[in-house]
Each structure stands twice: as C-alpha cells, then as structure tokens.
Assembly symmetry: C2
Homo-oligomer: 539 residues x 2
Amino acid sequence: MRWWGWGDSAHAQPLPEHALALLREQLGIDGARHPPVELDRVTLAAPALDPLVRRRLAAIVGGEGVRDDHAARVLHAAGKGYPDLVRLRAGRPEGAPDAVVYPSSHAQVRAVLDECAGAGVAVVPWGGGTSVVGGVAPVRGSLRSVVALDLRKLGRVLGVDEVSSTVTVQTGMRGPALEAALRAQGLTLGHYPQSFEYVSIGGCVATRSAGQASTGHGRLDELVLGLRCAAPAGDLSLPPLPASAAGPDLRELLVGSEGTLGVLTDVSLRVRPRPGHEQYEGMFFRSFSEGSEALRAAAQHEVLPDVARLSDEEETGMSVVLAGGEGLRARAGQAYLRARGYADGCLAIFGWDGEADEVDRRRAASLAVLRERGGLSVGSGPGRSWAASRFQAPYLRDELLDHRVMVETLETASQWSRLAGLYEAVAGALREALARRQTPPLVMCHISHVYETGASLYFTFLARQEEGREIEQWRAAKTAATDAIVAAGGTITHHHAVGRDHAPWLRDEIGELGISALRALKRELDPAGIMNPGKLLPG
Amino acid sequence: MRWWGWGDSAHAQPLPEHALALLREQLGIDGARHPPVELDRVTLAAPALDPLVRRRLAAIVGGEGVRDDHAARVLHAAGKGYPDLVRLRAGRPEGAPDAVVYPSSHAQVRAVLDECAGAGVAVVPWGGGTSVVGGVAPVRGSLRSVVALDLRKLGRVLGVDEVSSTVTVQTGMRGPALEAALRAQGLTLGHYPQSFEYVSIGGCVATRSAGQASTGHGRLDELVLGLRCAAPAGDLSLPPLPASAAGPDLRELLVGSEGTLGVLTDVSLRVRPRPGHEQYEGMFFRSFSEGSEALRAAAQHEVLPDVARLSDEEETGMSVVLAGGEGLRARAGQAYLRARGYADGCLAIFGWDGEADEVDRRRAASLAVLRERGGLSVGSGPGRSWAASRFQAPYLRDELLDHRVMVETLETASQWSRLAGLYEAVAGALREALARRQTPPLVMCHISHVYETGASLYFTFLARQEEGREIEQWRAAKTAATDAIVAAGGTITHHHAVGRDHAPWLRDEIGELGISALRALKRELDPAGIMNPGKLLPG
C-alpha cells in the first residue's frame, strides 16, 4: 500500500488527457502535476513511548513485533480519507503512533491491552488502514502516548462449518485472502467494498461495512453471527447463533464499535456457495427519480438484483470520462438513447449471481419490474465494464490529487419517502458551500444499496483545491453536507462509519441519551479510555 | 382474558375423551377435573403504594387511570407461564402490583416514570401480559412498592408511510388491531406468534418475538426500524432508517430489553403488501433428522417456505390427538404412509403466501428440494388444519391444567451442526429429570424457525403434576433442560425472551463481561433501578 495514497503503483493508471481537459475547463485547475513528497521528507515528532513500556510490549509480541521506525510510523499515521492524503502528500501528517505493535494471537492482544491500560497508552486497532473517516487517526487524547495495534498477523481461518455455512476467521485477515481460502471449499463471503483488496475482515465488522453486492447478499453486519473481543476490562465471546431472544444483542454493540470498546480478534460469519454464474445488465432511466422509483418497486416486489446501482445524471455523464472511457452514454449508444428519449438519462448497473438457471429466472423477474417502470436495457457491456473497474476509484483519486483536484465521497441513507429531498439537500449544500469559496464543484451521486424501506445515496464531488487551505475547504464542504443530511433525515453514515469525521453529528442521530448510553458502555469495557480515542463519540 | 388462564371462555374446547384416555394411560393422571378457584378467593397482600404517590400518579393519568381493586391486581399479578397459572389457579399468586397505572400518551409515561423514580416505586411495563418466562412478574426488588404500567391506552397507529412500506404504531396496540388497521390499506405486518390474539406490539418488540411465518418474513426484531423509549434517565428516539453504520446499533439494545431499561412507547416497523394468496402443504419425512436435513437444504438453497415447521416423531403422533383430531398420521392416511415407508415418520407443515403466481413458483422450488431429500407430500389438509388451530394451544393448556397435567414449552436454537446433539440433550434431560421424580413425561419437539445457519427447537412436555410440589417439579425440569441447552451450545431462548425464568443462565450465553456491560447500560438509563426488577439480568 502506497503510504501517500492507494494500493500498488503497478495498478495505477494516469488520468487520460481528455479527462484532464474536461477538469481544466470545468474546475479551473492548471493541469500541472504535483506529486507527493518523498517518504524521508515526512515530518514526524519523535516517538514518545516510555522505553520500559516498549520493552514490556516487546516481551509480549517479540522484538520484531514492535516497530517505531520512520516507515512503519508513516504507514500508520493516517487512514485514506481526503484530508489524510492531503496531509500525507505534503509530508505533514497530523501525528503518528509512537510505535506499531503486531500481536499474533488473541492472548497477545489481551496482554498488550493490559499493559497499555496500566501504562496509560492509547491503542488504535489497525486492520487494513483504509478508513476514510479518520477512524484510525493516531489520537492520544489525554494519554501520554499512542500505539497502532496492527492485526495483520491475526490472519488465519480458524474453521469452516460447512454444515452450518459459517466461517470463523481472525480479524486481521484480508478480504482477498479470505475469499481465496473459501474458494477452495466452494464457498464465498461475497463481501466486496470498494476497498476490498486491502480491507481486513475485522475492520469491515467494526465499521458495519457494506459491499457492492450487499443489496442481494447483505451488509457485513447482517452476516456476523458470533465474535470474540478483547476489551481492556476483559474478554467477551458471543457464540455464532442463528438467532436468539436472550436480551439486547451485544453483537450489535460490538459490531460498529470502531475499536472504541475493544479489539475484535475473531468473528464467525455466514458464507454461501460460491456462485457459478454472474450476469450484469446496464439499463437507462429517463431521470434519477424515475430510476429510483423503479428500484423501490423492485425492492418492494422482492425482485432486487444482487448488485443494484443507479447513477444520477451528473455521474452518468462524468464518471467513465474520468476513468478513461468514452462516457457511459456514448458506450450505450448515444444515438440510440436519443431516439428513445433517454439522451439525458441515468445509467443503472444490475448484477445477479448464483446458479445459472436461478440467475436467469431472477434476472427476468427483476427486469420485468424495472422495464415496466421505464428502464431501457442497454446490454451487459456497461455492467461488465463497471465490474472490471470496481476497485479502481481510489487509484483515480490519487491521480486527481496529483493534479490538485479536491475529490471526496460521502454517503447516507434514508426512507424512500425522504430520499429525493435528501438528495437535493446534500447536493445543494455541497454546491453552495464550495461555490461560496469560489471553487464550484462537480457533484455526482448514485444509489448503491437498496432496501424495502429505503436506499443509500453515495456522493462524489470534485473541485479545484484551495492551495494552502485544502483542509479548511474540505471541512466547509463536509460540514455543509452533513448538516444537510441531518436536517433532511438521513443517517450520518450508511457504510463509511463514524470515525472522527462524523463524530460531531452522532448526537443528532441517536440523541443525548444515546450518547450517554454509549459512554456508559465504554466506561465499563474500557475504564482507562485507551481504546481508539477521539473516534465515534463526540468530544 | 381469563385471569387464571388463556383467552376467552367462549373459544375454549374441552379435552376430547380419547385424548384424556391416552393421558390417563401414559401419564397416570386420574382424569378428574380440578377447576381454578373463584376470583374472590385469590389471596393478595394489601396494596402498599404510598397514598401520596397514588394521588400524584392519578394527577398524571387521571383518576380512572390508577386502579388497585382486587380484579385489576389479580389480572396483573402474573404472566401466562406454567408456574404463573399453577399459582393463580390455586388462588396464591406470588404477589401482585400495588396498583395498575394506565397512561395514554408518551408524555404520561414520561411523567409516571419520573414520579416512580423519585418515589422508589418499581415499574413493570405491561402489554398483553402473555409472557411465559416471568417477564411481567410484579417484583419490587429492594423497592417499597411496585406498579404495573398497562399500556393498552397507547393503542393507535401513528402513521403509515406507504412509500417506504413502514408503519409507526403505539406499543400498547394489540396484534389483531394492528392487522385490522393495516388491512384497510392493503398491508400486513405478518407477525403471528402463537399468542397473537392478545399480544401487544411493544411486548413483541421488547422480547424479540418470532411468529409462525418468521422463517419467510422475518423475526419482529428484524422488522423494527425506529423506536421511541421513555427511560427514567430521559427519552431516546431512533429514526426509522433502512440501514446505518453510525456506530453500535442502539435499536438492538432496546429491542429485547424486556422493560428493564425503559418503556417503548412507539415503534416503526416494516410492513408489506397483504398477500392475496396462501397455500399450505403437508409433507412426511421418514425421521426428524431426515426432515431436518431437508429444511437445511431448503434454507441453504434459499427456497424456504414462509412457514416451515417440522414435528418430531413424538409430536407427530401426539399433538393432534390432544387437540381433538384423529392424529396427524391418521389424517395423512396411515395405510398410504405405511406403504411408502413413512409409518413412523414426521409431519412437516409448509406455507407460502404472496401473489398467486409467485406462491406457485416458490412452492414448486421449495418442494423440489424437499422431495429430493425424502419429503412425501400429503396434500394441503394437514396444513390447513394446522392454520385453523394455530392459536389454540394455550386453550389446550388450560384444559390440561384442569386435569392436573403439567404442560410446559421451552425453546432454543443453534447452528445446524449442533442441532441434532441439542435435540437429544434437551429431550434426554427432560425425560431423566421427570422420570427421577416418578412422573415420566411425554416430550415432543418441532423445528419452527429455519435459518441458513441453523434452526430453532420448540419442546412441549407433559407429565402428571406432583400435587403440592408443582413448582418444585417444574423447576427441576426447567433447570435440567436449560442446563442441557447451555451445555449443548444452544441459546437459552430463541423467542420467549429471558424474563425471570432464564435470567440465571444469561451469563452462560453472554459471559461475565456481557452481564457487566448490560448492567452499566441499565445504571445509565435507569439509575434508580425501578424498571422491571428481577428480569433479564441475573440477581
């Protein structure tokens, strides 16, 4: 993973010339390239971990298991949010952990937490480090020092229960490694967030991740059956039951706890047979609202595709241009679309997977409902092309940052009856907040997760960076958007989690007493307050 | 509701003579009838509510809203568990609330809680009063007095959002009243626990109720989107979002909280179009394990019926005999079954509902998988007959109690890989515990809720009552069964909730730290400890 951005340089692609031209014209950037600083130019404070504590931690995890060299600290200095990357590229992260600790078992995690609780050292649980909401920022709060607890050595499958269709896996395991292990047994978890190639399973659970096929196969929080957590106050183990009425569901308190209550060390997840077949279909609608109504009908008729994604007019026009294609409308045949009255329409991508005959049947059932509500099929090409580039967006972001384009995403969800209002409010707030700063943005949106009672909205916005005031500019846009979300009745996050960036708005979602309840829970499980300070709960 | 038993006397049916003969032979009862005492013979202590507090409560809810007459106190003296009914029928309930308070709004609930918290009065939230696990026992704990908070006046639909397919309803509303209101708009909640005719919606939510069609349409906890709760520490309101990643899910903390954290005053639930068509199918399997494997296959192939219920050999032989029929095997054609090798087999009832063509298709898909695994169709008769008597079992229990038959049910769930072991362990424990007391039981079981990763087991057992030691006898059986459940890896309750009866085993399910976490939450939301003392958490 590139310390200043995403993934592997071998997979990165330069921004195509016509996309750059478009951005010059639309955003007013100059088109010059501004690469990140070199690694050794990144400025970090000296590590502040007490040498005695460092020795004790090394006694637990081994000498190789504690690192405080420059590279390790920089790699754990931030997640992958826009402000994180802006700061890293400039060589000025907000901070860095005083050390990175690599436990290799639950018992080692337990012992590390005991040591850190006793010594007053903050602990930031670290999976793939892909948080885009400040969820892994090395915040020490009122404590003297902070360590990142990198779980990569907890990377094994502990057991597959084929009869019950479940897998128990250590939380540091990466998405692709788990899929590889399951593939060997004809199974899949089928959880594909955009960050799939780098995420840890534990990180996905702790943040209530949703994947690109979650419409059909469930959010990750719905697939968690059991878990084991090392909290400073002790261990908590919940068995992988299919269902229970034994009181409040503590799984649902630890799922989504974002490392603030303890460290998830293993989880049991529902898996399913690996699909033998998958099929994609592109479909145009005359407008975002027409497409949205069609998705609602499909959901409420229980004929949803497994992947269901509807871009608004702006995204339909822009996104593939930026990714280097000829534009979604062009690909679908602009003349054909114009002739049918869909020239300014919106593209949807639908996907189904499973056994071939079942895919055929379900696809036919979905398409019947979608066509009846205005959908125009444009074949499997757009869907296949989306699937081929489904993990590419973070690379594109690095290219845009190189050209001093502000690029950020944010997401929400609400009931169907509020969705159109929410969409207008957020897009409007972003446009207004950035226009006011003389950096009018491009704002795009898609629906990516669909439910019987509502759907998610995923916004991407681009603007010319305000040089030297990038963070201030970002904060203005983020604040305006989140205020608009709250006012319009959306959730502050559908699948990016709360982290540090959304924490100031959590009270708007769960109320003062909800915050008090979470604080009480935290005091009980983490009395010394060492777990991931500054995240989830408002300051 | 009959104070000493279930429902309306007009709907009760006497135990048929051939069933009584069978019980005389199998259990050794004498067959004589022992009716409950008269209402005025029920012994209660004098109400202990401070007159000043009583006046203040009356000022909040009106003079008619506080009752402490004999009939009101007896009706709120216990739920509908076996030990409750044994005690009530003898005129010796364990206790009774000092008063019954009937608020008619969230604001009145709020004010009542404030008054009770200040005065040190325990509050037992009361919906339909149908708990079978001691969930509404009038326990005062260390407090001076206890009131039942009967929510029947919170009985309105607050709004239907047809676009989002949700309803917001006050929690005192009864199941049939809500269905009637939804029917007028072509909708249904579709939640049918056996206690449907008397349950309150809030009670179902607070206890994680599962209904007879929950295999297809979801447990009630899965249908809750938003809620409003009055806790002693304040109000908590959670919006009806389709999904969110905003931290731990507090809905899942209040759902299942069994009145120990606060009073749910309204909830938003997912509804669906009222099905135009329903179809039932009876099917025999050669054994419970063959049928269980077939259900597993249907679940894992995602072709489950909406109702899926498989009786074991004992239940197949017994249950309809007791209900007055000619026996399930007889009804299915004993000669036919024998000829096909299913003479000692197990009956399953399957049901599908929805639009007619969709029902046909789904039924065909289910039956294909079930037949391939040994299922023998026996037509729609057994299913229709089950559906016609689906709410009758509690009446039958009253008849059995009249004849001094101990009759109790208990339920659990586990992963498929543990299910056979769990079944053997629980049935064995019941047989052994009661045989040791010279009251060998009849033990029957069915699977009633099926999931991809596991299923529930619902046991019914009958034995001759030990006169004068009925409670001791019950406790011995209950303890043996629950110990066996815990040892075999089942949940202590799949849908009856924890109440008072299962509280001693909650620690086995969620661990010491889980208990501490719940206690911390309770301290925060209910600092004076007035909410439903003695329930959920172990003493």
